[in-house]
């Protein structure tokens, strides 16, 4: 109940960060590694039944910003380029999709030239033309795409489109030539992430006939293997095969297996799980209730799939507000929290690992260390309440009121309750403020709301230390009084900032040296303790007994269109 709505939002976070700063990987992208086995006809057909507690809003691929639908868009829409449809790390690679090849990049990174594939048809039977590409790019602004102002404004003419979307032309920004079937993007400045930004569903190419406003509940034609047949936010949506689809690149848009893909909304997670257990459905979108994990991992082990996510669950502390403007207070909490407790609230050691650093394990620059620990080992051993209490007294912040803001889904609230009792045990007067994730995420960012400490998550999308360290803890990411100030701790340290810039600069030339510095940055940050890092979670998928060919993309998670129900 309470949680479901917000859990979907957690999905939203996933995707939103999934696109925060793509890059490096894209450049290295070259040959499609996946789909080597080839299409296995005998498994084609049938209907895949997916369950989600609630709908995720508009179906418009250029507006919707939730993992829940981005997962589906993979099979329904294509951009000029897209993320490779394979399992494993290669799923971060960008490959040509509607474009015949990766673009020719000239004018030191400011001009991208694509050649559009010929003869590809939309699900409404119309052929994809360069004009569709142009109109789709203009449409990004007309429907006021969430990131129009932060990503696509890099296109020449984008700025104008932001101020006057209705009359958006992107003149000189997107130049198409029907004769040569080419599309040229001119950027105001080089942008390493531009291709990634074209590869996400926002970059989908839609018919030029698509309405120049948010299409809401009405499905738009696409080029993918499937098309949306119907959508009702209260009951569910149906995807069927796109009659005009022919495989042009299995790596970009493979042929799907099921004839139909249904997603049904409106039941509780508990009953969703029950339904899959009873073979009434094939997959649950929402995170599994921890209450059911035991039952699942014993009775339905074969139907569970667990994948490592390089992500953090952490407690950002407001470094500009008492008591956590006091370093000792922040360190005290780092000592006091028992990360194993948080882990077991999340579902146990097998589903999450305690962490003491900002960078997840196995990350470039990651150095195994644990500054605030019982004893001196570099791996997490447990809390040290004595030290914690001592620090609180030393900080002179004992007895202060502390408000902890968490989202009101079961897991977050459980962890929140635990942190609450820790705060009280080390001498603060703490209260819990559960909020719908929908509000909480912006609420904790805005300094106006005077949030002292909160619980939140950060999911990576491509392996680069800057994605964590710079995005979350550099001065440039702190915007007081703004709902979008992702540096939630409001932490700003000039020397560390300098270090980060140095590391980033170095990355272009010497990755290893850069990583070394990133590691030091991580250490330096933890000395300042703007966060309490809790653990690195894993993703569990629970699929029906009859389902085969489960494949997991690091980018958009399970491929629904590749599931076998025959």
């Amino acid at each position: 109940m309470t949680g479901l709505m917000s859990m979907k939002r957690v999905g939203a976070l996933l995707s939103s960060f999934a696109v925060c700063a793509l890059g490096v990987a894209a450049i290295t992208a070259s040959t499609p590694a996946g789909a080597a086995t080839g299409y296995q006809k005998q498994h084609a057909g049938g209907t895949v039944k997916l369950l989600a507690s609630t709908a995720a809003g508009t179906l418009d691929p250029q507006v919707n910003y939730t993992l829940q639908y981005w997962q589906l868009y993979q099979a329904t829409y294509d951009g000029l380029v897209s993320f490779q449809k394979v399992a494993g790390a290669a799923s971060f690679d960008v490959v040509p999709d509607l474009a015949t090849a990766m673009p020719k990049v000239t004018d030191n990174g400011k001009t991208y030239t694509f050649v559009l594939r010929k003869g590809i048809k939309f699900s409404n039977g119309k052929t994809v033309t360069v004009n569709d590409v142009l109109s789709s790019m203009q449409r990004l602004f007309k429907v006021s795409n969430p990131n129009a102002g932060s990503w696509y404004n890099v296109i020449v003419g984008g700025a104008a489109c932001l101020t006057k979307p209705a009359t958006c032309t992107l003149k000189g920004g997107v130049v198409v030539n029907a004769a040569t079937n080419t599309v040229v993007f001119n950027l105001t400045a080089p942008d390493a992430e531009f291709l990634d930004q074209l590869a996400v569903p926002f970059g989908s190419i839609l018919p030029s006939t698509a309405p120049s406003k948010d299409a809401g509940d009405t499905p738009l034609p696409g080029t993918g293997a499937y098309e949306f047949k119907s959508y009702n936010p209260n009951t569910g949506l149906v995807m069927v095969r796109n009659p005009y689809f022919k495989v042009w690149s299995a790596a970009a848009q493979p042929q799907g297996y099921p004839n139909e893909i249904d997603m049904t909304f409106g039941s509780t997670v508990e009953s969703e799980v029950t339904a899959v257990e009873n073979g009434q459905a094939d997959w649950v979108f929402d995170p599994l209730p921890s209450d059911r994990l035991q039952q699942l991992s014993t009775k339905y082990a074969s139907q569970l799939h667990v994948n490592t996510l390089t992500a953090d669950w952490y407690l950002p502390m407001n470094t500009n507000l008492a008591p956590f403007n006091n370093l000792k207070a922040r360190q005290a909490l780092n000592y006091a929290i028992d990360k194993n407790a948080a882990v077991s609230l999340f579902g146990g050691k097998l589903l999450a690992t305690p962490t003491c650093t900002i960078l997840p394990p196995g990350f470039p620059g990651f150095v195994q260390s644990c500054l605030y620990n019982k004893g001196t080992s570099s791996t997490y051993a447990g809390p040290d309440l004595a030290k914690a209490k001592a620090l609180v007294t030393a900080s002179g912040t004992a007895g202060m009121k502390v408000g902890l803001v968490v989202t009101n889904d079961p897991v977050n609230e459980a962890v929140g309750q635990y942190v609450l009792s820790v705060l009280n045990s080390i001498g603060y007067k703490a209260t819990l403020k559960p909020q719908s994730a929908n509000i909480q995420f912006n609420y904790i960012q805005n300094t106006k709301n005077k949030v002292q400490i909160s619980l939140t998550q950060w999911y990576q999308d491509y392996p680069a230390a800057s994605d964590f360290l710079k995005v979350l803890l550099s001065c440039s990411q702190f915007h007081p009084g703004n709902d979008n100030s992702i540096n939630i701790a409001g932490f700003c340290n000039k020397t560390i900032d300098a270090q980060m810039n140095q590391a980033e600069a170095l990355e272009l030339t010497n990755q290893t040296a850069a990583n070394k510095i990133w590691g030091q940055v991580d250490q330096a940050l933890m000395k300042q303790a703007p966060w309490v890092p809790l653990f690195n979670p894993k993703q569990i998928d629970f699929i029906g007994k009859r389902v085969g060919n489960y494949q997991f993309s690091r980018q958009f998670y399970m491929y629904v269109d590749q599931l076998w129900v025959k």
């Binding site: 991992s297 569970l304 146990g348 079961p410 045990s425 403020k433």
Partner: protein, 319 residues
């Protein structure tokens, strides 16, 4: 009163209520004997001695893939975790007692506020009529027409996000006062309307007319003539409202917008229990039973009150 004492069911109910109330109110004095842990502090990594063995309060699953962690079930030892632990490793039995405190406190005090305000408003409206009546009735209409739970929930959502800071009134977010005020205000019309009706009909009656005619002061008439006649109704209403409010409180807490952590009420415990419904159903079921028991007793008592105080019941003889 004698009549009430003769009503065996009502007396039994009263007994049950007294028992529950004392059990809950005295919790602070003996709960630590039952729960060695503070029932408000998480005890996730803790262990207890259970017939000689040391066991974890939260036990990681060992079968199958080994996902999931389950709190310890009922030990049936009063020494500790009599009814087992919740997902925070807290002693459910001890929490039941403490939760009962808030539930009863909220139920009772909101009933007091509700009935008091309703009585004043309703009587005033019925007695003075005219503008007073019009305004009061409209307010009743509005509260009435505002879907109860929607009103309660919207108020809660707001107030629980930022507390009340109105003029000199200042209530901390998470304070029990918020649910109390919300619940009280939501049900005012339910009590106020009937009272208004009674007063209206009273006004037609000779003795009131006489009193008015004899030029007695409004205050005097209200106190000497009206009050004695509405008092029984109010008395009858009270226990029912307490029961009613307890149920509402639990509903709100269950939706996560009533009592806020670290406070606990039977409603919040049910909510905690939901997460364990499949592995440790007792956590969710026990507080429910407590509510049923208490509310039921209050209802029986209310019936007893009605039989005893509602003059109607007396007048009607066997013929």
């Amino acid at each position: 009163m004698r009549q009430l004492r003769r009503n065996r069911a009502a007396m039994l109910a009263l007994g049950v209520i007294v028992l529950i109330v004392t059990a809950c109110l005295l919790a602070p004095f003996y709960a630590h004997v039952i729960a060695h842990e503070n029932p408000f502090a998480s005890n996730i990594t803790g262990t207890i001695r259970l017939n000689g063995k040391t066991v974890n309060v939260l036990q990681a699953n060992t079968q199958g893939l080994g996902y999931g962690v389950t709190p310890i079930g009922p030990t049936w030892h009063f020494s500790n975790y009599f009814l087992g632990a919740d997902d925070q490793g807290r002693d459910v039995f001890a929490r039941l007692l403490y939760g009962g405190r808030s539930s009863l406190y909220i139920g009772a005090s909101s009933a007091v506020i509700c009935v008091a305000v309703a009585a004043i408003a309703g009587v005033a409206a019925g007695y003075f009529g005219g503008a007073v009546d019009w305004i009061v009735s409209r307010i009743f209409d509005i509260i009435w027409a505002f879907p109860v739970y929607l009103l309660a929930i919207s108020l809660s959502v707001i107030l629980e996000t930022n507390g009340i800071n109105f003029l000199f009134i200042h209530i901390e977010q998470g304070s029990l006062t918020i649910p109390i005020l919300i619940i009280a205000s939501v049900f005012i019309p339910y009590v106020g309307r009937p009272l208004r009706g009674i007063v209206l009909s009273l006004k037609e009656r000779e003795f009131i007319q006489a009193a008015i005619g004899s030029g007695a002061s409004d205050f005097h008439i209200l106190r000497k003539e009206i009050l004695p006649n509405v008092a029984p109704t109010i008395i009858v209403f009270f226990p029912l409202m307490v029961a009613f409010n307890m149920l509402t409180e639990s509903a709100l807490s269950f939706l996560g917008i009533g009592v806020q952590a670290p406070q606990a009420s039977w409603g919040t415990i049910i909510n905690d229990g939901l997460g364990l419904l499949y592995t440790r159903p007792l956590v969710g079921i026990m507080p429910g039973l407590m509510i049923v028991l208490t509310a039921g007793a209050l209802n029986v008592l209310g019936d007893g009150f009605r039989d005893a105080f509602d003059p109607k019941a007396k007048l009607r003889g066997s013929i």
